[in-house]
Amino acid sequence: MTGVGVVAPNGVGTENYWAATLAGRTGIAPVTRFDAAYGLHFAGEVSDFDAASWVPGRLRAQTDRWTHFSFAAADLALRDAQVDLAQVDEYEMSVYSASSAAGAEFGQIELTNLWSGSPRDVSAYQSIAWFYAATTGQLSIRHGMRGPCGVVVSEQAGGIDVMACARRALGAGTRLALVGGTEAPMSPFGVVCLMAENRMSTITDPRMAFLPFDPEAGGAVPGEGGAFMVVESVESATHRGVHAYATVAGYAATFDPRPDRDRLPVRSGLRRAIELALEDAGCNPHDIDLVFADAAGLPRLDRLEAEALNQVFGKRAVAVTAPKTMTGRLFAGGAALDVATAALALRDQVVPPTVGLRRRSEDYPISLVAEAEHRPLRTVLVLARGHGGFNSALVLSGAHR
């Protein structure tokens, strides 16, 4: 991983985000986009994003905010990696993005045009702006990347799954890949869909809104934004003489068996995903210095995650953190942002904090890190669970290894 680009609720731009995260500055705030008439009081909105500075006017007209975020994050990642794309063979470059809600706002606008107007009022850009592949397509065109490209939809797990796609492509002819995901679900119809299964927090007290691993957790807070990474073959990075944040050392994905009537899992495949990822990385549990938790913010899901961690690592035996407590869950952008954060942690040898922790809980015997701290970090595990039963685990090993 040679480049990282972040657009997050608590910082647009990688270093802005990282500084805010280490300082414990949250981007979760009362919803401003529209009246919180849907019971959602808080969200991680990206309030200082100027799309015009990242996306030329003509492209802005034909893309959703979700794609604008991706353009920004991808640009930042490419600059960070100091890539001169003209020096890389067009067929050896790939783009992989995670999608979840896709062009929710653009889609709602066009649905409104159709249903309050007529079919002839639907934009010529609807066919290219709303669908799940729009961002990958636009990034591929913008940067002239003609190798294999793709889109994975596995909700919050997507950002890790696309890292695996990129790793696979790197082993098969791709030299450099732009990988990641962003999300922009904050249009009215988007939010109504988000609220549908009672997994989002409707709590009005800001201190209680998003409390993963707390017995009073009442759901997650959604957010927008995400991250893109530049991932290259070792040979390519060496040849270019660039420093790497981390190596993608291991990956695994599993799926939970059918959930119960409340759509909550009865058994979790998360433990197996962790074990398989460690095996893929050639690691033992004690090699892992830090875990970025999925942190769903719902008691049953939190319990299953804590159990999985304890079964693999032992009770309170590994440091766990959830900086998403400062951004909310970003779905297609979520795991990507966690991966970006893990890369930054490895670069600077600093553990980013989990905010809002109230007290050590016996219900969840895991060691959550409440304040940023310097620590030797060689290998980090990032976890993500997509709604419906998707479990993904990624092992990153730092240059300091």
Binding site: L114, S127, G137, E197
Partner: protein
């Protein structure tokens, strides 16, 4: 390159004009078209293209419950019905594999767009309210995030290995199958239920293709509207459908004596990085994908017995693709039979690639090439053998199938006979 090989041991299809693989093959072999006037919604004169290829399945007759038929988006319904047929066809239930070794790879371009639109209408009072009403429909989240369809299919086949949804626009079908094959090649899974589904015949999608004049406006003659490679072609006909396959590790399939339809021997993707909808006439990126897929399959161009084209029936696609075949197959492009089944079942976006792979496997089974229907006026720019109108008996051991989609996706897949 890989030690493991992936074969197809089960097929399930829900297609325009045919439910089930047997009826599907009969339609293709007969050269019948399933393109008609749209009946799934009231299509007024305000729509430019008022025709489509609709699947006419009865969810209850196909084993879904009334609740499932009422809540599930049409695309999910078709995926599960096709999935069940594939599972039954494969005989896996007799000796089910361990769940952790079963994966799912499902493709879809537009997910649950029909239910999203229906709910939008209801909650926004037909577009009148920007601040839509709160819904008490738990399924609404699953409509917005289509991985819920992959989850349903995973529950259906008790898959606890890697499960994902591939959404690469119109190449989703081929790409989902390719990703499924990869899981087997890499030894991550022994069985992968892979395929694709799309149900886009709804106002917003029809209107969005109207807006870019991509679909055929031959509303007075729907049965002949899809005319790939024809000089008078004027756009694609929107379709819907699903095809699902049981992909299996070859050794495992042989050990349990499973019947094999064929092997996924090559798969490659490239991107044209040119325009979201436009295609340059030179077809170079598709040609690259074809070359790479052939190389993986270790099949020379001259050994390809049948090419299943993307053949959407737009002016630009068919020309682009013809060039891609010439670039990649050389002189052999002029002698290999090429056909587009979109001429018969329309273009079901993310699903069509999977339906086309089903057609290819069945073609190999029956040693017969399905035709390109409606091809009566040859186009000098499209001067290959497109098997006009009538299916042709033909020895088939290797098939090349290609796909192309909005966003610049170009995919090629090679299937090989295992007999």
């Amino acid at each position: 390159m890989y030690e493991n090989r992936a074969v197809v041991t089960g097929i399930g299809v829900v297609s325009p004009g045919a439910t089930g693989t047997k009826a599907f093959w009969e339609l293709l072999a007969d050269g019948r078209t399933a393109t008609r006037r749209i009946s799934l919604f009231e299509v007024t004169e305000e729509y430019r293209s008022r025709i489509a290829a609709e699947a006419s399945f009865d969810p209850l007759a196909e084993g879904l419950t009334a609740e499932q038929a009422g809540i599930w988006d049409r695309a999910k319904q078709m995926a599960v019905i096709a999935g069940r047929e594939a599972l039954w066809d494969s005989g896996l239930a007799v000796q089910p594999p361990p769940s952790e070794r079963v994966g799912v790879s499902l493709g879809s371009a537009v997910g649950s767009t029909m239910r999203l639109e229906e709910n939008f209408q209801r909650l926004s009072s037909n577009g009148a309210k920007w601040m839509v009403d709160m819904a008490h429909e738990p399924a609404l989240y699953g409509y917005m995030v289509p991985s819920s369809m992959a989850a349903e299919l995973a529950w259906e086949c008790s898959a606890e290995g890697p499960v994902s949804m591939v959404s690469n626009g119109c190449t989703s079908g081929l790409d989902a199958i390719g990703e499924g094959a990869r899981l087997i090649w890499e030894g991550v899974a022994d069985v992968v239920v892979a395929g694709a589904t799309d149900a886009p015949i709804s106002p917003i999608t029809v209107a969005s293709f109207d807006a870019i004049r991509a679909t055929s406006p031959d509303n007075d003659d729907p049965e002949h509207a899809s005319r790939p490679f024809s000089a008078d072609r004027n756009g694609f006909v929107l379709g819907e459908g699903a095809a699902v396959f049981v992909l299996e590790n070859l050794d495992r399939a042989r050990t349990r004596g499973a019947g094999c339809y064929g092997e996924i021997s090559g798969f490659a993707c490239r991107s044209n990085a040119f325009h979201m909808t436009g295609l340059r006439p030179d077809g170079r990126e598709m040609a690259e994908a074809i070359r790479a897929a052939l190389a993986q399959a270790r099949v020379a161009p001259e050994d390809i017995d049948y090419v299943n084209a993307h053949g959407s029936g737009t002016k630009q696609n068919d020309r682009h693709e013809t060039m891609a075949f010439k670039r990649s197959l050389g002189a052999h492009a002029y002698s290999v039979p090429v056909s587009s089944i979109k001429s018969m079942i329309g273009h079901s976006l993310g699903a069509i690639g999977a339906l086309e792979i089903a057609a290819c496997l069945l073609a190999m089974c029956n040693q017969t090439v399905p035709p390109t229907a409606n091809l009566r006026v040859p186009d000098p720019e499209c001067d290959l053998d497109y098997v006009p109108v009538t299916a042709r008996e033909w020895p088939i051991d290797s098939v090349l199938s290609v796909g192309s989609g909005f966003g610049g996706f170009q995919t090629a897949m090679v299937l090989s006979n295992t007999r």
